[in-house]
Each structure stands twice: as C-alpha cells, then as structure tokens.
Symmetry: C2
Subunit: 329 residues, 2 copies
DNA sequence: CACGCCACTGAAACCGATTGCAGACTCAAG
DNA sequence: CTTGAGTCTGCAATCGGTTTCAGTGGCGTG
C-alpha cells in the first residue's frame, strides 16, 4: 500500500536507481532530475522501506539500549538522553530492561545484537569476560563502566568523591562512613576507592559499612550500621540509598544534619524532594546518554579509529539540607 | 558473515524452502527432515534475518511505545511492563519520548509507524482528531485514554475516586479540594468527574483549585490555593503533584495530616518515601504495559475482531500517613 | 495393474531497496 | 570529423528470506 521506489520512479519518469541515488547521493544526479524526484517523493509521501534497505546495506538503522532497571530514575534519565539524541540522527532505539539480572543480560544482549547496528550497555552487570566476548562480536558502547579496548563513557568518580569530602571536611567532619552498593558494581568499587583516597588526602577517617542493594530498602538497612560507626557523616552509593537512610534515621529520631550529615550520588529528581533535601554529587545523566549515542555512531562509521575512544563526565556537588557542621563532641 | 538459510539448507542436504518450512510450519515437514534441519540450525547458530523476513511478510516483529516523559516514574513503569511482556513474545520495543509535546508527538508517531507493526500510545497528548487519524493508518493501542473505535486500556478513575472519597469521608472530611492536572489531559477530566460524583454521593463538598503541571513544581504551586479553599483534605492529579504540595505545606508549617490530609494517585515509588508517606490510589502500571502488549498483538493477529476491545484496570487505595481525621473546627 | 490421493520437497518468483557496470549523451580538443 | 573524457542514467544482480506451484514417490483402492 505505501509508495515504493518504483512508484516514485514512474511518477518522476526515471528509473528506480536514479531515485535511490537522488535520495542517498544527491550530488551524483542532475539537479533538474533531482527536483523531479523530490517532487514525486513529496507527492507520494514516499519513505524508503527500512527492511529492504537494511537487507542490502546490512545496516538496520537501529541501536539498542540495555539498562538494569528502567524504573530506576537514573537509568530512565540516561534512556531519555539516548532516545532524544538518536532521534536527531533518525536512528530508532530498542530499549531492554534486564531487571538487574546479570545472567539474563548476556542472553538479552545476544538476542538484541542481531537486530541492531550497535548497542549501548548502561551499567552492565555482566562479567568482564562476558563483556569482552560481546564486544568482539558486536558494536558496543559502555556507559558507567570501562573495559579494555571497549569504547565507553564513565563518570569521574574520584573527582566526585573529592568534592564531597572537601565539603564535609570543611564542615568539620573527620570520620566519614561509606555505604557501598552491589559488590559486583564497577561504580561501587571506583567510588569507594575515590572516597578512600580523598579522605586520605584530607587526613580524615573512613568507616566502611558493607554493601547494600542500590535501593531505598538498601539505605534503610544500612542506616543503623552507619550510625554505629560513630561517623558524623555518611556518603552513600547513590541517592536512592541515601533517601532510604534518611527515612530510617528519621524513624530513629536522629537529626539530619544535626547529628549526622548525609551525601548521595546521582542527583535524581527525588533528591531535592527528600526531607531534608539531599546534598549530592550530580551526575549528568541525559548527557551520558547523548554522548553514548554519538560515540556509538562514530564507532559504526569507523570501527577502527573509534574503538578505544573513552569519554569521562564530571560530577558537580549540589549542596542542599542534608549536610551541616559536624556536631560538637 | 552470519549463517543464512542457504547455509543451513546445504548442511542439512535440503532446499532453502524446506528449512523455511521446518522453522515456521513444522507440521508440514517430515520429522526426520525436520530433525536434520534442526541439527544444522543448531550447529550453525542460525537465526533468520529479520529484515529479509520482514521484507516478504510485511511484518517487522517490532512494536513502538510512545510516552510523554520517560523520566516520569509512572511512564517508566509502564515501559517496563511493555518491554517485559514484549520480550516474551520475541517482539522488540522501540521507545520514544515526546517530552510532553503534543505537536512533536504526532510527527514522532508518524515516523515510528513505518518501522513497526503497531504502536502503544501511553497517555497521548494529541487531539482526538489527530489520534483518530493515526489510528486509521496504523495499528494502535491506547493506554490511559480512550477514543472511539480504538482499542485501549484505561483505569477506572471513577472507582478510584470513590475509594479515596470514602476514606476521607470516613475520617470526617466534608470539604475536599481537587488539584487538577493539564486541562488537555484525558485523565484529569475523568478524575475530576469521578471525584465530583463521589463527593456528591457522600454529600460532601468539592473545591476546585484549577489545573497545574503534573509535576512536583505544579504541586508546590497549587498548595497555597488548596489551603485557601478551606478544605480539610486535598486530592491531587497524581503523586508527583501531591509530593510537591506536601513540600510547600511543610515549608508553611501546615501539618499533614493534622491540619490537612493529602491523597495522590498513581503510587509511584517515591510516594512511600515521602514524608509523611503518601496515601494514594495505586494504579497497576506495569500491568497496564503488559496488557497493552497483549492487546496490540491481538489486534495485529486479527484487526477486525479486536479493534473495539477495551480493557479497564482498577485502582487500589493505599492508606499511608498523609491522611488522618479531619481537624475539629 | 492402473489410477488417484496424500505427504513431502524443490525450483523459482518475489518483497523493495542498493549498486556495479555499461550505455548514452554532451562537449572540447585534436 | 573523430576521439576521449566526463556526466548522468538505466539495467540487472543482489541481499535473505517466504510462498506458490509443480513435481516426486509411496500407497491404497477398484
């Protein structure tokens, strides 16, 4: 029912090849002919069939985005960025949610790989080995994680932690607790190291309180242990955890920031709605998505030169109401 | 590079046609042959090229999901449901975010329509006329909205409002304010009507305070007007608005639920993290996504019988800490 | 034994685009 | 007038499947 390239050719009085060329390599066709083709295209509302084009070019014009959990506002934002930038390039985005399941992730990626030109893997839970295997057989860009020889973009966790620590130390905090996320998480490891280094630089003490689910519940679970460390400030794996922690502290009657200061990471929408509003390290999320698309498209254009490209984004400390001067001993 | 149907045919010692049949209509081929084909498929790791198949069948095996804002947790949940159920049917999902722009929506839908077998439109902002036009030229399932002759699923807003009102009236509230969402929103209209009817049934009074953006900011903006109505309880368009309202009330020193009770709609994750935790009408979001996929697939199978199918989901009142007895006058 | 039916398989056309190759035409130079 | 280069355009092959149509062979029946 929709117009084909032959319909356009007939109407314009040229051959299908000419129509094809007029559309994809305009400089190769006479401008008068090109105008006739353009008119015919316009009149028929012709849009090339992507399946047919894909069959011959081997390109689908689609990319895939794999995230651990779409309902997590962090990933939703990244997805928003990806999708907005992809549209600009007339590329469609398949979105897949792995439900935080590393095993499912690998299978899903394999299945998706057949239908797209490349994949954006956001905070992949897969092992390094699986990841490398995937990267060799399909075009991949990593977000929020790095791997040898795989292009990707990540956040400068060290610098973010430096900012948070500088802020806390300036407020007089000398003993700071760290509530880590999933042990397998690349971000957890780097944030933990960054925090540790920053504290060392400032001559302050670190108290680790283990690893918790990167959720509100995880934060509630971590709260009592964080308090028990005797620290006067807590830095958490992400904002969701910080907000859960806030809730538990409130339930226990511990004042924030009076008794304890709390710092999150991410700056999700919820954070400024928390009570007290959460001090956090804002990570540019949509921008990560946008850059990931640019990077992937560059890789597709030229797999060789772009393969080792890696981009680093910087966080920004947002001071709100959950941090204050350390309590007098 | 990947194996084609011809490779499989050669290895199995049959013709490509037989391979095709063995895969898509197994009962038409001899079981011994079928086994040989299966073995060859297995050995080569063959997966049919979807573009090639789509070219001849006219089906892409893809569906599209259009939402106003992925960063809104309500839509993120629906997307999660859609995407999970689609995977079960081996259907890929294109996700597009319109950024709450009704004009962009129409164009986006048109573009997306070419690449998919059908579309799920979630809370479309488009006009009835545009929507009908779209529905005639492509397979569409509506979520959170109804339109003449277009299949869709929506929530029973009237019943949800009945539950909320029954709860508030039982707590002694007799004058209840309504904070509406965008005027063009189908949900706003139906919720408003439902609330109005429910209040009438219970002999209580309604105070409308206009329409606001369906966001945290919208809620903050609405708070003072809601207070000024003299109502002892407020029902808001959605949870995001309710949470914004809560924040402004807190800033003004108005106690919730002591001075004013607040009820939201949706039950997003944030609601139980709010302080006080928000009483709300929970809408099954992921389920809406799942059913939308089922419905769309049914429409694709048989456009005629399924065309007028419409499904209604029911809300459930979740009582938390933002509602309490009406203050003594 | 001849015939017809049935179950199964293969050859070939086709979906709608892209692209290598070759032909047609213009124009300038020899 | 011939030749050659250069510019455009069309023919036809091709991508990887699906589907129609026409066998082929086996078997039961009259």
């Amino acid at each position: 029912m929709p117009a084909t390239i032959r319909d356009v050719a007939r109407l314009a009085g040229v051959s299908p090849s000419t129509v094809s060329r007029a559309l994809s390599m305009p400089e190769m066709v006479n401008s008068a002919t090109r105008a006739r083709v353009a008119a015919a295209v316009e009149q028929l509302g012709y849009q090339p069939n992507r399946a047919a084009r894909g069959l011959i070019t081997g390109r689908t014009g689609n990319i895939g985005l794999v995230v651990p959990d779409l309902a997590n506002p962090f990933f939703a934002s990244v997805a928003k960025g990806v999708q907005a930038r992809a549209r600009r390039y007339d590329v469609a985005v398949f979105v897949a949610d792995t439900d935080e399941d590393a095993a499912a992730e690998v299978g899903l990626v394999r299945a998706l790989a057949k239908q797209v030109d490349g994949l954006i893997l956001c905070s992949p839970r897969a092992s390094d080995a699986d990841l490398s295997a995937i990267a060799t057989e399909t075009n991949v860009v990593l977000v929020n994680r790095t791997a040898e020889g795989v292009p990707g973009i990540s956040y400068d966790n060290e610098e973010g932690m430096q900012q948070a620590v500088a802020h806390l130390v300036a407020l007089g905090h000398r003993r700071i607790a760290w509530v880590g996320g999933p042990v397998t998480s690349w971000s957890t490891q780097h944030r933990s190291i960054g925090l540790s280094n920053a504290l060392y630089d400032h001559g302050a003490e670190l108290a680790r309180v283990g690893s918790f689910a990167p959720t509100y519940e995880g934060g509630m679970a971590a709260a009592d242990q964080a308090v028990a460390t005797g620290a006067t400030a807590v830095v958490t794996y992400n904002d969701l955890v910080a907000i859960g922690l806030l809730a538990r502290l409130h339930a226990r009657g511990i004042s924030v920031p009076g008794d304890l200061s709390v710092v999150g990471i991410d700056d999700i929408a919820m954070s400024r709605m928390a009570r007290p509003a959460l001090t956090t390290v804002r990570l540019p999320k949509q921008e990560a998505g946008r850059i990931a698309v640019e990077l992937l498209l560059a890789v597709l254009d030229d797999p060789d030169t772009a393969v080792a490209t890696r981009d680093t984004l910087h966080g920004e400390l947002i001071v709100r109401d959950s941090t204050g001067p350390a309590p007098k001993p």
